[in-house]
Amino acid sequence: MGSLDDSLMTAVELLFNLDREVWLTIWTSLYTSSCAIVFAALIGIPIGLWLGISRFRGRRLTITLLNTLMAMPTVVIGLVLFGLFSRQGPFGLLGLLFTPWAMIAGQTVLATPIVANYVLAAVSGSDQRIMDTVLTLGATRFQASVQLLKEIRFGVMAAVIAGFGRVIAEVGVAMMLGGNIRGSTRTMTTAIALETSKGEFAFGLSLGIVLLSVALIVNLFLNLLQQR
């Protein structure tokens, strides 16, 4: 490993020379994380909304479970899904293990509780008059729920962005379910772990710069939304 300055220069060169492997890794990360967050939003937003507006026995317990899932280590998610997708597992026949789809599935599991919790917080913190107003104007409960989401849209967007920030930066799921296969399931985080262990510090650093930039953009956007 050379000096940090040299590595940084090489990292910038790799990025600006459009090194195919670097960009392919970046693409895999963005592609799997984006797909995962779309699925997580489709599942997590209705769950958060439902928990926010419904009152039923066991609601508190459900919310506690959701909070626990938020703190679930990524390697545990990876381990459980590995068991499901492995050849002997119930979904083994699908042949998903070590494909981007297995990573997407794992990252969806990781992001869904985050999205649901953020949406739940947004609904709980929203103006209690919204639902009543919309209902008294003649909306059905479903229409009123959709309108509520529109009214708290910045909170919902913040939920999606927070989920995205979590999945793009995770290693455990991508490593266990993707297998870090070059040109197929190698993401920025798994590549950084691998290349650094091989002594390819500059390569790891270039991906680290991109990952940090993505995290920075996501957080700036999140900050901007929270201020509105």
Binding site: D127, R129, I130, D132, T133, V134, L135, T136, L137, G138, A139, T140, R141, Q143, Q147, K150, E151
Partner: protein
């Protein structure tokens, strides 16, 4: 004649202490009813029960012509304007169009009705204004216009003048007093006995969640053909 709202043996519980209990209450078409009572007497709960927003633990709330439709269809017969109303994000026009869209009213007619309803509450030209940039009194009037634009059979008003300045108050009361002749039943909760007396109609005294007294009074406002409300709306629509 069938009552527009019929409440029978209704019990609504709110927490451990308060409960609204109405044995029998029938409200008729084209009348003004004012609910009088101290804070926490149950006026708002009764209005919310009539609006089918709060469902009773026991008893029935029946709306005329509501049929056996679902709750949303039944709610379309009544509209509640709350004391501190919530305006949806967007423009004043978006707010007024919301209920019209739910009722499948065409865009062209929506526009005409919105202009007329805003004129009724003295907010001509407010269509493009952002809802979050309005004053308290304007919010209350936009909320009233949002209810009027739907031409409800029953209009429920909870302290509707709490943010309206004294200059606009008389015009507001005159407009309200003319609504029954246009087929609207008004149920209004207020602390203002003088306002209730000026509007006339039937006064219902409510305390501790029970109706104690009912009395009639004539309106102080003249209702001539020229100053009726719905004809103004219909004329504006070219109907």
């Amino acid at each position: 004649m069938e009552p527009v709202i019929s409440i029978k043996d209704v019990l609504v519980k709110q927490g451990e202490i308060f409960s609204l209990s109405i044995e029998n209450l029938e409200l008729h078409f084209r009348r003004i009813y004012t609910l009088m009572g101290s804070n926490g007497a149950g006026k708002s709960t009764l209005l919310r029960t009539m609006a089918l927003l709060t469902l009773p633990e026991r008893g029935t709330v029946r709306l005329a012509d509501a049929g056996a439709g679902n709750l949303a269809q039944q709610r379309q017969k009544v509209t509640l304007v709350e004391q501190s109303p919530y305006l949806l994000k967007g423009s004043v026009s978006d707010n007024l169009a919301f209920g019209l869209k739910l009722r499948g009213i065409r865009r062209k007619e929506q526009k005409k009705r919105i202009i007329s309803a805003l004129a009724l509450v003295g907010l001509e030209g407010f269509e493009p204004r952002k809802a979050n940039e309005l004053s308290g009194g304007e919010v209350q009037r936009v909320a009233l216009a949002r209810a009027l634009v739907l031409e409800p059979k029953v209009l429920l008003l909870d302290e509707p003048t709490s943010s309206i300045d004294s200059k606009s108050l008389q015009a507001f009361e005159e407009m309200l007093s003319q609504l029954p002749e246009n087929g609207v039943t008004i149920v209004l909760a207020t602390h203002d006995r003088f306002m209730a007396e000026r509007l006339g109609g039937e006064m219902l005294q409510i305390e501790n969640g029970r109706i104690l007294d009912r009395s009639h009074r004539l309106s102080e406002y003249n209702s001539t053909k020229e100053n009726q409300v719905w004809p103004k709306l219909l004329n504006a629509q070219g109907l």
